[in-house]
Every structure is written in structure tokens, then in C-alpha cells.
Symmetry: C2
Subunit: 163 residues, 2 copies
Amino acid sequence: MRMGEGVEWAAHACVLLSALPDGTGLPAAAIAAYHDVPPAYLAKHMQALARAGIVTSARGAAGGYRLARPPQEISLMQIADAVDGSEPAFRCTEIRQRGPCGAKPEECTKTCGIAAAFWAAERAYRRQLEGVSLAAIVASLTGRPDPGKFARVKAWLEQNANG
Amino acid sequence: MRMGEGVEWAAHACVLLSALPDGTGLPAAAIAAYHDVPPAYLAKHMQALARAGIVTSARGAAGGYRLARPPQEISLMQIADAVDGSEPAFRCTEIRQRGPCGAKPEECTKTCGIAAAFWAAERAYRRQLEGVSLAAIVASLTGRPDPGKFARVKAWLEQNANG
DNA sequence: TATATGCCGGATGAAAAATATCCGCAATGA
DNA sequence: TCATTGCGGATATTTTTCATCCGGCATATA
């Protein structure tokens, strides 16, 4: 079971956007350059974030992406859902209804116990990620003292942001 | 993010094996026939279960698979790990070290906050599945009254088991 | 010992999904 | 108008998953 790497890209992109000066936008190409990832492919993921309402996009000259809401109101779960989809990892194919001793559909009023157990575990996973906000992630990064790095990032943003 | 369907097959196979009469073995072909899944492919997953020590295999005539321990001591997590692998779903590619403002390796003593959050969620997922035993699954199935079905399964097993 | 059964592991192939790029279009500011 | 930028679809490439087959070995039974 593996998660698409686009989720990692999108999460880091949102962290970067959280440091973006107010009233400005950051083009997808700049976000890709900052992280050294394929521009065209990252653009796809940014579009997914926009469709999910996590970021807003502005077209045309001086356009770009910015966060749609404050970082406290964006969770990692929302980002993962937007990029990777929100379908459950475990798919029940109703094996119990197949084969020589298969159960009839009318006997299967309750969900299969195996599927129920896996889905419960996925709920635990989701509950955990829903509790992690972008703000918390940013806080964990800037928590350690590193003023020089912070200044460099700020300078890079001001150079590459539009607006 | 999706889980391989082999996990579902393996879980159902273990449930079936838990009803197997003592001292007998069930060939992979019989397990596949019972669930109406591809025999050669299911055999692969059964081999994975055997390598993980969840089932034991006996070769030759009158051989087959059986559970290696009582159902109370087998968890869904163990089955999923055996079949799907136990690598984490989220892979950190150390994006923070790339790009024009990338951090130097010596600055990255702590794991990336994003990776840490996803891995914490995966731990919650695992903890949940570790708490679900095969015995609990079986109990949830036989809990509702269905004596006829139970008898049919038993008869099928006695017809197809070896030993 | 001969034979049939059945697991083991590797090689191989087919299908699906993830990864990645490109292009035409629409929108927007200079 | 023109350069810039996001949007969506089409397409190509790579990787992973799904699935089968085969030779080899182990074991019970006759």
C-alpha cells in the first residue's frame, strides 16, 4: 500500500504558500522550482488543491496560487484527499458471495467483518491526520532556531511572487 | 492509496482455515475454488502467509495449508503485512533538502514534520488492526444464527481437506 | 520404489495505475 | 495587443499490480 508522492509535494507546497506575503500569488512554476520537482506534474496537483478549495488560483499575468484559508483551518487529511482521492484503501469485493458456499445477497445485510475492520482502521488514520493542521506543521519547522534560512526563504518568495 | 486485493483474499482464506478440522490441511487450489479466485495467484499469497509464519504448509499428497497458531493469536495487521508488505504508505523523499533554499543534510537531524505526521497516522492505523484478531472476525460472522450455512461449509471442508 | 499430489520459487507476460509532458484555450494585467 | 498564467484534455512513459506457467522438490500411498 503506497501513497502517491504528489501528496508530499502538495503538502510542502502548502507550507511554502503559508509563508507567502499577503496579497501576492505564487505561480506553479515557481513552486516547482523551489522544490525541484517536475513543473508540469506539480501543476496538476496544484489544480487538484484548487478544485478542493484548499488554494485559490489567479490566472493571467501577476497570477498564481495562494492559500484559500488560514493554515490553522487546513489539515493534512484535506490535502491528501485532494491529491490522492478519498476512496478507502481497502476495497471489499464481496468474496463472501462467491464460490460454492457463497452467501446470497439478502444474507449480506451487514458489511463483511473483514472490510469493517479495515475501514475502522482507516477511520483511525483519518482522524489522526484531520488533527494535524498546516499551522502545526509550520510551527514544527520554525520551532528550531534558524533565522538565516528563514530570511533566505522570505527573500526568495519576494523575488518570485506576483501581485 | 489502495491496498492490494490479495489482502482481502488472504484474510478470507484464514477465516476459512480457522474452520478446518484438526490435523487436516487444505490445498491452495481448494481455497481458491471456495472463494472463486485465480488459483495460481492465490497460491502466491498463501506462500507469503507461510513465509510470515501465519500458516504452515505441508507438501505432497495429503498436504495443504493450515493455521500456524490459534485464531486469537493472528491479527489482521499480521495478514496485511505478510501479503502487502509492511513498508509505510508515505515515503519521504526529503524534498526539504532540494531546490534553491534546500536544507543541508546536517540540518535535518529530525524527521520532516510532514512525514512524521503521516507516519503517526499510519501507527494509529496499525494499532487498530493489531487489535483485531482472526477469532474476533470469525465471531462476528457466526454471531448471527445461520446453522444451515455453517453445516454446508463444514461439509465442503470435510470433502476437500486432506489428512 | 513408483506415482500422484501439492508446495516453492523464479521467469514471464498482461493489465492497470502512477508519473510526466505537451498543447490549445481562457483569463488577466501591463 | 501581448506576455503571462491557470485549466483541462490528450498522450506517452515508467512502474506496479495482477496473473499464469513451469521445473523442482517433498511427501503420502500403493
